[in-house]
């Protein structure tokens, strides 16, 4: 923590760490699309979770009301975040915990390292946490000579394989069970060489491996799903019980939580404990929910810390159109229903936060000008499935469009040579801002029709349009536009049949060429 108060920063404090794409999304997507195994695994996994979610959501008659409540509580939280943070700090401290404020990834990593060092330990066990992925804590600790062991099964798989998570909730969604067996056999000490790929056998191998860590670890590092301001309570919601082990057995517990994770009061949990499990794993209730409020003498960790992390969250909060992205409760419903995520997987997004929410959250936290994150808002067909699935009703498509606007404006200010897309948009602005302009252009339709040739199909176009004809044909334009037909041939329906034999050029009759008076 800085000892000197430097006043309010003039520029937004943008986020750092694992929030950036390392290459433009289309390029990364191209590579990931080529991995047939990945696509098969993802298609299977996302469809399974999707169906489970739909089933349990349909059970609740008040699901839509609950989404409204979730959204309203989160909006209210963001509107009074500074006051709630101070309230939380007071309550957490009064109950024996210690609060640390971290402006960015670097500060948070330094704080956690110094807290671990103070215990004299060189190993920590970890509860699955997005915030620590975001700041790259494991790598940082390793550089400082501290080993961090992931204890969530999927995180363990990813860590053993020296890979990166590809999903918020199911970090190893891109692996199937035979791949997991292979990783365990290769990387796990003392593993039974006769291990099969039966899920129960794989879980048993992981359990044996982890049990030793739980019983010896003196320090645990966790994230948190919610922080309750009126009591100073932290919450972890999980499925495997590894979190419960980490949160109760070690002497020291260090939690890293984004400042947006607060809820005003304990009673707000009622809404979120219904929204979260149903949206994330498709369960009515998750198996383990741990809540802790400071220190309880003689029971559980006696040395309890919380690092409150900004890392670009206040920058996102400052964006009037984008701030609701902070309402995210990391359920991952949006990525499970996203047709783009389903095909590219999480790695294509680069950032710790993949899928639709990542495509808005990452650039909001880093700023749209940051590295390659300006390609993320375009990684969506704007189909809207994410908005429908979001338990706190984040209008992801609208924020994607807003960020595209920010990107275009920021490039306008810096890049002097217009791109093909810029020119196309400029041309279309002229064409579409006056009916007379469009009418004039439509006079050229027969020319396009001629160019399409005898089979009336365009198979190859130049430049940017060539991206269309890479996998799709384009039909030949018609001989005349609707506007032209209306002006020349349309008659009010008083029994007069307009004669228009030339519409399609091919001379074929269509009912719409002679429908007048047929009622």
């Amino acid at each position: 923590m800085s000892g000197t108060f430097l006043g309010m920063p003039a520029l937004p404090a943008y986020g750092h760490g694992n929030l950036n794409a390392t290459e433009p999304f289309p390029k990364a997507a191209h590579r990931e699309l080529g991995n047939a195994q990945l696509r098969a695994n993802l298609g299977h996994a996302t469809h399974t979770i999707r169906d489970k979610r739909l089933k349990v959501v349909a059970e609740l008659p008040d699901w839509e009301d609950m989404r409204d409540s979730g959204s309203a509580i989160k909006n209210a939280t963001m509107a009074q975040l500074p006051a709630l943070l101070e309230q939380f700090e007071a309550n957490f401290t009064a109950r024996g915990g210690t609060i640390h404020w971290a402006r960015d990834a670097q500060e948070a990593n330094e704080i956690v390292t110094s807290l671990v060092r103070a215990t004299g330990e060189t190993e920590v066990v970890k509860v699955k946490s997005m915030a620590t992925q975001e700041i790259g804590l494991n790598e940082y600790l390793e550089d400082q000579g501290i080993a961090a062991f992931e204890t969530d099964l999927a995180e363990l798989i990813v860590q053993l394989d020296h890979d990166k998570p590809s999903h918020i909730l199911v970090p190893a969604i891109h692996k199937n069970r035979s791949q997991i067996r292979e990783i365990f056999l290769r990387e796990m000490e003392d593993v039974d060489p006769a291990l099969t790929d039966e899920p129960a056998r794989l879980a048993e191998a992981a359990r044996r491996h982890l049990r030793k860590k739980f019983l010896t670890a003196k320090v645990a590092v966790s994230g948190a799903n919610f922080g309750l301001a009126d009591t100073g309570t932290l919450t972890v919601v999980e499925s495997e019980g590894n979190g419960r082990m980490c949160l109760t057995l070690p002497d020291t517990l260090i939690t890293v939580m984004g400042i947006e994770k607060l809820l005003p009061s304990w009673s707000d949990l009622e809404v979120f404990m219904q929204l979260l499990p149903r949206s994330s794993t498709g369960e009515r209730m998750n198996p383990y929910t741990s809540l802790w409020t400071g220190v309880t003498p003689g029971d559980g960790p006696q040395n309890v810390h919380l690092v409150l992390l900004d890392n670009g969250r206040t920058a996102a909060l400052a964006d009037e159109m984008g701030r609701t992205a902070l309402n995210c409760i990391r359920c991952s419903a949006c990525m499970n229903v996203c047709p783009v995520y389903e095909r590219t997987g999480g790695h294509a997004y680069g950032s710790t936060y993949p899928g639709p929410i990542g495509a808005i959250l990452s650039p909001l936290m880093t700023g749209i000008k940051s590295e390659k994150n300006n390609s993320l808002p375009y990684a969506s067909s704007l189909c809207g499935a994410c908005f429908d699935a979001c338990p706190v009703k984040i209008n992801i498509p609208e924020i994607l469009v807003h960020l595209r606007g920010e990107d275009v404006d920021s490039r306008r200010a810096t890049i002097k040579v217009p791109t093909q897309m810029d020119l196309m948009m400029k041309g279309a602005e002229w064409a579409f801002s006056d009916g007379a302009h469009l009418g004039l252009l439509e006079k050229g339709l027969p020319l396009g029709r001629l160019a399409a040739g005898r089979d009336k199909v365009i198979k190859k176009l130049p430049g940017l349009a060539g991206k269309w004809t890479r996998s799709r044909d384009l039909p030949a334009p018609p001989g005349q536009s609707f506007r032209q037909w209306w002006a020349r041939d349309h008659k009010a329906p008083d029994g007069v049949v307009p004669g228009t034999g030339t519409t399609n050029g091919t001379g074929t009759g269509s009912p719409t060429e002679s429908e007048g008076g047929q009622a």
């Binding site: 191209h30 783009v340 018609p478 429908e515």
Partner: protein
């Protein structure tokens, strides 16, 4: 009723038959159709690509063309363009600081309907065969486009109208609610992902054994049809307005030397 047709730019220039079918349906029901000549495009391509500055004159043009008392309601044969008129125009005007345009855009948006919305909710069409004489003896599958489904909440309006057409055999499309991958300039900017989505949509369509895939948005149908055509499939695409306009005496031909919406032959 006096109904203003918003043809939409893509239908006006590429699929005039869809607009003519829309006119035919409305006139058959005894309504007067007018075509505000100033109209061009809803501006969605600009907005969804982030070109708000360029979108403003396009939005302003649409509002200028349709902000008159010369008609009762406006209709477009597109869920996507109507969603843009209803939801995006105010947003664009606000972002560009034009409060007067914002207010007028709200008025225009409020009286603009997607075709199946108008037919079902306003004009009371429940039986296309009886009320419109619709007759279409073909095996058809139906793709509900995303913006109609999710932004306008059209539900089963289009499908119900289709089901009431005489002679039609409707077959269910697996994974119907999945996006076809068009997404406007998404199909250019992320051509690979768009193509992968299209591949799955096309496979699902071909798997139904239908002769045609229908839907309510010419742009999505152009994308789907373009993919089917490239794969050499005989399955074409056709806007549902044309199916509703088809009658026993004047059938829409689906085979032979006919240019289908997006399909070939």
């Amino acid at each position: 009723m006096k109904i203003a047709l918003f043809a939409t730019c893509i239908v006006d220039a590429m699929y005039p038959r869809t607009a003519r079918a829309t006119v035919a349906i409305l006139e058959r029901l005894g309504h007067e159709v007018v075509f505000p000549p100033g109209q061009a495009c809803c501006g969605q391509m600009h907005v969804n690509s982030g070109y708000f500055k360029e979108a403003l004159p396009v939005v302003a043009n649409h509002v200028r063309a349709f902000d008159t008392d010369d008609y009762d309601v406006a209709v477009a044969p597109s869920g996507s363009c109507v969603a843009s008129v209803k939801h995006q125009h105010e947003l664009v005007a606000r972002r560009c600081g034009d409060a007067a345009l914002e207010a007028r855009a709200a008025v225009v948006g409020a009286k603009t309907y997607e075709l199946s919305q108008l037919l079902t909710d306003v004009l009371g069409v429940t039986d296309a065969a009886r009320q419109l004489g619709s007759h279409f003896p073909h095996k058809v599958t139906y793709h509900p486009s995303c913006h109609g489904m999710r932004l306008l909440k059209l539900g089963d309006r289009q499908l119900k109208l289709l089901a009431s057409v005489a002679g039609i055999e409707l077959v269910e499309l697996p994974e119907a609610d999945q996006c076809c991958g068009f997404g406007g300039t998404f199909s250019l900017k992320n051509a690979d992902v768009s193509g992968a989505m299209l591949e799955d949509k096309a496979a699902n369509i071909c798997g139904t054994g239908a002769e045609l895939c229908t839907g309510g948005d010419a742009s999505c149908l152009m994308h789907i049809g373009g993919g089917l055509s490239r794969q050499g499939s005989k399955v074409g695409t056709l806007h549902f307005a044309e199916i509703l306009a088809s009658t026993l005496d004047n059938p829409v031909p689906v085979a032979g030397d006919v240019q289908l919406a997006g399909g070939r032959r």
